[in-house]
Symmetry: C2
Subunit: 103 residues, 2 copies
Amino acid sequence: MSDDFIALGPGKVDLLQSINKVGSISEAARQGQISYRRAWDMVNAMNHCFKKPLVESVTGGKGGGGAALTPLGKKVIEIYRDMEKKASQSIQEEWKFLKKQLK
Amino acid sequence: MSDDFIALGPGKVDLLQSINKVGSISEAARQGQISYRRAWDMVNAMNHCFKKPLVESVTGGKGGGGAALTPLGKKVIEIYRDMEKKASQSIQEEWKFLKKQLK
């Protein structure tokens, strides 16, 4: 994929959030309707771009292991969602003007 | 294209700006390294989504006619660039944090 080395974006953050919720990359891929391969590529890209990994594998447990977010992974979700909120709030005025011009 | 009916985005605003500069959709397409067909589709999508067109054709003149932005087209560029600037400024703090975490 062309975005293999893009550290972060909306799709990657959604994936992080899903992995955090379901504890598995394959299940997160299934729920997000992307291929397992694609989800792995996204996780690898993130882990590659950041100084410390955002996702780590977890061994043992009921399902025989899975994936979990590292503290940095969780922090990155939080920061990213904050950025979305702040960016969106900062352009309310312009967005209202544009909306009025749309059919 | 899947984004035929997306009113606006970075590619479309770049195209508007280029049309405004060069006065021609085909020349703007060439300079932006997209096909003439793709540029036309983008212009049509914008004109379709807004209440009034952003781009209009111009007849006569040296080259035998071309394209020009309407006042709304020019305003939309301005608003969009303002949005980019404001959004970017609003997330400086988070962005600095993220950058520190990147390799």
